[in-house]
Symmetry: C2
Subunit: 430 residues, 2 copies
């Protein structure tokens, strides 16, 4: 890029038509002049070539992504992560805020992803390392999206769950287990106090547990559990499958009594989820396979907060995400940022329910509640319910007892003295 061309990729917020742009926050490690590198980053994600040969024209004023803010944080003698082919010499670590005109692609998730995470950002000259840290949408862009159909408030109303977390349980074992005993595990979990018994994200529609049969059994068991407990109960069926089966499977499992469906968001694709959302009769729940492959490293890829916002935009009512504690390899701040991304204001798009998960049990509930700071979350043990020594009914009961203790401001150990399921959870998982 010639020196005279660089200014065309800079603007300031005071003159920007904010409604016409998305705001993108990237962290980059760049070679050479950061001002040039940031201009490349804008050019490559928008008007890489902004005029025809021998024509006096310039598409940048209306169509170029433009730098709003560029801050050099530090200089390093080389990239934070060694690369192949090697990148030699010093780099500048920068935060760059870019305004991208969304009319370049319109309110379409695949085209949005192609612009903000495509060849532009990841192959901009002299920008070998880049991470998209955040995205902020304008209301005019959001207006074209459906977002969650029910959202956090809608789920509370629909399932009559108030002033406490939503108690999910991942039925285990699942890979290999026949539908009949699998259903019995879920049923016992509901009786013990689970709100939502769910399929594992890897259990979909295999020959040895066809979803038609599994959902029929669990749909019927759910209704029995509702009669037995007088509470709303949810069977969350995993309909993750090829895209052309999403709608038929949704219809099938709902007819069979499933009253929420789970989709592994990135493996299926966010746009297919948006398609499903337009037809869905029940809440949509996201699971997180594939996300870590682009999000784990602090200085490369995509921040999980961005993936969470995009899942909410695609229409998920619930977003399951890696939660607190060392098991899920996610920094506490990042978990909190993901939770915030579910519930913070987002124009006309409803809040969704965050479910930070990972090796939970009654024992971890106080800590998760304390981290979140309120009861607007889902709690999703697997083993904590289904490997409980008193079985899933005892495991589920231990969750409710732990919540009673929290709500009463009583230590778990004290409450456990009168509650053997909680005592057993502490003994096993504590």
């Amino acid at each position: 890029m010639r020196a005279a061309d660089i200014d065309g990729f800079y603007t300031d917020a005071s003159t920007l038509d904010a409604e016409a742009h998305l705001i993108l926050d990237y962290r980059i490690e760049c070679r050479g002049d950061p001002r040039v590198a940031a201009a490349h980053l804008c050019s490559e994600q928008s008007t890489a070539q902004w005029r025809r040969v021998d024509v006096d024209e310039d598409y940048r004023p209306r169509f170029a992504a433009k730098v709003l803010d560029l801050e050099v944080e530090t200089e390093l003698s080389g990239t934070s992560y060694p690369l192949l082919p090697p990148v030699d010499g010093p780099v500048s670590v920068c935060r760059v805020r870019i305004a991208h005109p969304h009319a370049n692609f319109g309110p379409r998730l695949p085209n949005l992803l192609s612009a903000i995470l495509g060849e532009g950002p990841f192959f901009a000259p002299d920008v070998p390392l880049i991470k998209l840290l955040d995205i902020t949408f304008s209301d005019s862009f959001l207006a074209a999206f459906e977002g969650p159909q029910f959202g956090l408030d809608g789920l509370r109303e629909r399932w009559q769950i108030h002033d406490r977390p939503f108690f999910f349980g991942v039925i285990k074992p699942n890979i290999g287990l026949d539908p009949e005993p699998f259903t019995e595990l879920g049923y016992q979990g509901w009786l013990g106090g689970l709100d939502i018994a769910k399929d594992d994200e890897m259990l979909a529609d295999p020959d040895w547990s066809p979803i038609a049969r599994r959902s029929a059994l669990l749909g019927a068991a759910r209704q029995r559990a509702e009669q037995a407990t007088g509470e709303h109960k949810v069977y969350l069926a995993n309909i993750t499958d090829e895209v052309d089966r999403l709608l038929p499977l949704h219809d099938l499992v709902v007819a069979n009594g499933a009253n929420a469906v789970m989709v592994n968001a990135l493996p299926v694709g966010l746009s297919a989820v948006r398609m499903l959302r337009k037809q869905a009769q029940v809440p949509l729940v996201a699971h997180f396979p594939l996300i870590a492959a682009s999000s784990r490293l602090p200085y490369f890829g995509v921040h999980t907060r961005v993936w969470t916002k995009l899942q909410r935009l695609a229409g998920f009512d619930v977003v399951i995400m890696p939660g607190f504690g060392p098991r899920m390899m996610t920094a506490e701040d990042e978990v909190l940022e993901g939770i915030a991304a579910c519930v913070e204001p987002m124009g006309p798009i409803k809040p969704c329910l965050p479910v930070p998960g990972g090796s939970d049990s009654a024992v971890t509930l106080p800590g998760v509640h304390e981290h979140v700071g309120n009861a607007d979350f889902g709690f999703v043990p697997g083993r904590g319910v289904f490997s409980h020594p008193m079985g899933p009914r005892g495991g589920a009961a231990s969750l409710r007892q732990a919540w009673e203790a929290i709500a009463a401001g009583v230590p778990l150990a004290e409450h456990a003295a009168q509650h053997p399921e909680l005592a057993a959870a502490i003994g096993t998982f504590g």
Copy 2:
């Protein structure tokens, strides 16, 4: 995991039912005993819990992923990339080959991705860094997939392009340019010798260049170019859009005269591509946005070879990928591995056409041809055609002239003496 449980996640190739398994090659950096870490990696991606409480059963023999081979390459004092939260202490760098029973999920791309790149591999205890290096399918798994409809040989036959590379050109400028002048650029490129004039991967269906109008203009221009040149010409329309618009857009652009369609594979989702493949009347071309976010780092994420194999499996006839040279930040070996992944034997799945691209022009053609080692590739300049000082007709002509030189074993510079377009390309891009 208890010591006695580990053996259930190991097997050897001599006793394995090879047809029933996929083979996964991971590089991991793990803490503690590598044998335990590799068992966790298998457990988490398959039978994480393999028995019910108080039931004497074991789902591992049939359903567990199992280590076939584990090789400790070296020990490091810490992970290659610092992580948050920090991973303290020494790690072992290992290659681990795993056999995964594909009946756990069946021939479904989203479920395959969920198993091999999901919570299992990326959240296995004591495995903070992992990269999926390769995947090998058994014929029994592949038999359920459609793969490319035309494939490399079918494209040569359909478009009568023999004994030379396929010459693509990315029409530029594109972001902001009206369909009429955009079409004229493509038309001139065809006259000059392009086989395929293509939309940029960021140009889809915006208000300022509706794909209905653009494809009608280019479809008509393509037919005029065929009449003028006596050659087959291809307009490659980018139908990347929300999933529920893929089939309608395919039908629209084909009716308008587009004779190939491009889809940004990961932004749209591989499964949606498979859905499109079942209905498509024309060749499908993949573009690579989003892939680098999980593939650039040598020791984390997913190797591009895996993404290429999966794109071929989803049914793409052509896979555009980052090519040779420093501009595309991809090691030469990795480009060659991606090309091999397009054409190597893959059971009943046809070979597809590899298109290694990035800042190409007539000047880079000899190098790309030499690297590939044959003419079974696509060549996809943008500026090399559309910023050529003699315009796109001259730019396209310079590609054909460069190929004449290569085919005749003559240096470009020598051939340029009688070919002003090639001479101008050398002067501009050399």
